[in-house]
Subunit: 208 residues, 4 copies
Amino acid sequence: MSSTTAKSPDASRRSERSRKAILQASMELVGEVGYPKLTIEAIAARAGVGKQTIYRWWSSKAAVLLDAFTEVVHDENAEGSAGGLPDTGDIEADLKYVLRATADEFSDASFEAPYRALAVAAAADPELADQFVSRLREPGVRVYTERLRAGQEAGQIDPDLDLDLAVELLLGPFQQRWLNRTGPLTHEFTDGLVELAMRALAPRGAPR
Amino acid sequence: MSSTTAKSPDASRRSERSRKAILQASMELVGEVGYPKLTIEAIAARAGVGKQTIYRWWSSKAAVLLDAFTEVVHDENAEGSAGGLPDTGDIEADLKYVLRATADEFSDASFEAPYRALAVAAAADPELADQFVSRLREPGVRVYTERLRAGQEAGQIDPDLDLDLAVELLLGPFQQRWLNRTGPLTHEFTDGLVELAMRALAPRGAPR
Amino acid sequence: MSSTTAKSPDASRRSERSRKAILQASMELVGEVGYPKLTIEAIAARAGVGKQTIYRWWSSKAAVLLDAFTEVVHDENAEGSAGGLPDTGDIEADLKYVLRATADEFSDASFEAPYRALAVAAAADPELADQFVSRLREPGVRVYTERLRAGQEAGQIDPDLDLDLAVELLLGPFQQRWLNRTGPLTHEFTDGLVELAMRALAPRGAPR
Amino acid sequence: MSSTTAKSPDASRRSERSRKAILQASMELVGEVGYPKLTIEAIAARAGVGKQTIYRWWSSKAAVLLDAFTEVVHDENAEGSAGGLPDTGDIEADLKYVLRATADEFSDASFEAPYRALAVAAAADPELADQFVSRLREPGVRVYTERLRAGQEAGQIDPDLDLDLAVELLLGPFQQRWLNRTGPLTHEFTDGLVELAMRALAPRGAPR
DNA sequence: CGGTAAGCGAGACGGTACGTCTGGTCTTTGA
DNA sequence: TCAAAGACCAGACGTACCGTCTCGCTTACCG
C-alpha cells in the first residue's frame, strides 16, 4: 500500500523494511507517550532509521500515524469479516448491535490512543482532515448509510430521508461524547441513542 | 474573574494590567498564527510581559487561551442578552433560530480559531477537557436543556425523554460536522437537523 | 564598621540584625557553592531578608563578600595578636616563619574559598580591585614592608632597595603559585623562596 | 588543532566553518563587552550558528575562549619567530628586553582583555586552570627556563639554582602586579625587577 | 504621644540568558 | 547509489536570577 500522503521521490527504490519499521514504531510510541509528545526523532530512533527517511516519504508525524493506523485497520479487516453491517431484518437491533461493538472498540486503549490522536490532529489541520475522513471515517460511515438504505427498501426507514443526515444524527452524538469525554460509552447510552434516533428515522406513519 | 487554572502564588499582588495584556495577546496571536504555532514566548513578547509572569499564573498555553476566551464570552454576554433561548411558544422555530445563530458564530473566523484551538486541545488533554466543558460548553448546552424542558411542560416535547440525551441528539451532529469539517454549517443544514431531531423529540402521539 | 561600598540611604536606621545575617549567609554560601554560583537571591533567602535590603546597602555580590570577609579578618585580628611580624633579629628566620604561617592559612579551605573568590572578582573588576587591595591586601603587605625597613636599619637588608619592589619579589611568586595552582604551598617552597629572595635583598657586601 | 576540551561527538563530521566562526566571534565579543557579559547566545548569533553547535563541542564559554586564544597565539607564532628568547650573551640585557616586550604585550588592550578573562576564569576553575597553564602559560614560561639554563652553562647564573623557582621569582611579581593592577607595567618596573632578581640568580661569588 | 517616614520581609514584575529539546535541512560515509 | 547517521541552523521550552517595584508592617524620630 502506497501512502497517499507521500511527497515525491522514486517510490520504486523505497525500502520496505524501513517503511514497516517506521509505521510500527509510530504506533508503539503514540501508545506510550501520547500524540503531543510523539516526535519524529523518537520514531526514527525506535525504527533504526535516519530522520531524513521519514521526511522523505511523509509530510508530518500525523501523516505517518495515519498510514500506520490505516495499515492496521486494513490488516484486521482483511483477516476475515465482510465489513458490512449485519442485516437481520430488524434494523434497530442491528444498529444497536453494531454501535455497541463500536463503543467497545473506542473503549479499547490500544485503538483509542492513536485514533484520538488522529482525530485531534485532523480537527486542527484541514489538509489532514481530508485524509482522515476519506480513509478512516468514510469507510466506517458508509456501512451505516448502506444499512439504512436497505432499511428504507424494507420499509423500516422513512423513504424521504436524507441518509447522510440520518447517519450524522446517529453517529454525531456518539462521536461528540467520545471526543469531549462528556460521558462513558456504555451500552445503555448506545442503545438509548439508537432508540431515540430511530424515532426520527422511522416512517411517519409507522406504529409507535 | 479569577482563573481556576492558576497555580498558587499570592493572587492579591497580581498585576491586572499584565493579566489583561496576556489574554488579549493570546487571542490576537491564535488568530494570526493558529494554535499549534502559538508560543508562550510570542505571547509574552506581544503582551510586553516576562515569560515567568505567564508561567506563574497558568500551566499551559491552553489554560491561557481558555481564560482569554472565557473572558471574551462573559464580556459579550454581560453586554446585554439574558442569555437564554427565546421562547415564542413554537419550539421548532426557536431551535431553528438559535441553531442558525450558532452556525453563524461558528463560521466567524475570529471566534472559530480560538474556539477550535481549545476544542482540539481539550480533546487531547482530559484535564483541560474538564475546564473546557464546564466553562464554555456547559453554559451553551444548558440553555438548550432548559428550552426543551419548557417544551416538555408545553406538551411539545415527549415528557419521558432524557433531556441530556435529547440535547446530544440535536447538537452532536452539529459539533461533529464542524469539528471534522465534513460539510458547511449552512442554515439548510441546521434547519434540516432541527426538523429531523424534532421527529424524535416530539410526543409519541403527536400529529405528524 | 561601616561599609565603604554603601549607596546612600539613612544608615542610622539600618538593621544590624539584617546586616549580620547577610554577611554570614554570604560566607556560608560562598563556601558551599562557590563564588560564580553565589546569588543575591540565595543570600537573601538564607539570611531571611528581602532582596531589596541587600541592593539597598551593597552594589554587588562582590561588595557583600568583601564586607563579610573584612569583618571576619578584623574580628580575628582584634582577638589578640598585635598584627605585626615578629622581630627576633634574624630577618630570614622571621620571614620564613611568617610565610609558612601564610601558606598554612591559604591552605585552609574556609579561608581560601572566599578569599580566592574576592581575588578573582577583583582581577576582573578594577573598581572592586581598589577595595580589595586597600582593605585586604595592603594591610597584609604593609607588615612585610615594615619588617624589611627594620631589617634595613639593622643592616640585614640593602639600604638602597625599593622596599615595595622588594616585597613584590617576595610575595609575588607566592601569590602567583596560589592563584594559578601551579604547585603546592609547602614549607619547602616558602623557605626556598625566602632564601632565594634574601640573596637579592641582602646588602651587596654581605658575606655569602 | 583539535580541542582538548571537546565532549564526545564524532569529530570527523565537525564543520570547520562553524568552528572558526565561533572562535572569531568569541574573540570579537570578549573585546567588545568583556568576559562577564560574554554570552553563549551572543557568540552563536554573531557566528551565525546554532547554540547547540557550541554546546556540542565546548563545555563552557571559558573553554571556547581558551581555544580561540590558543589558536590566535599559535597562528602568530607560526608566522615567523623561532619563539625562543634572544641570547646575546648578556643575560640581564636579554631578560630586560623580553620582559619589556611582555609588558608591552600586556598593555595592549586587544591582547589583555581575553587573556585576563582566561586568567580570571582559570583562577576560579581548577579544571580550566590546567588547560590554561599547560596551553598558554607553560609555553611562555619555558623559554625563560631555557634561557636561564643557557645562562647557567655560561656561568652567569648560579649552577645550584632550582630554575623553576628562579623563573617564578622573575615572573611572579610581574604577573601579580598585572592581575592586581597594583601598578603600571612600565619599562622602569620590568628593568628594576630584572636587576633585583638577577642579584638572587647570579653565582654567589660573582663580582657585584 | 501620635503621625509620618524610613527600613524591612516578601514577592510580583519585565527582562536576559541559561542549557535542553525538537524541527527540518544538509553532509558524510559505509554497505 | 541510497539510506543510516548525525551535525547543522533555528528557535521554543521551562528555569534561574537579575535589579526594580510595590505592598503592608514595624519601628524610630519629631512636631
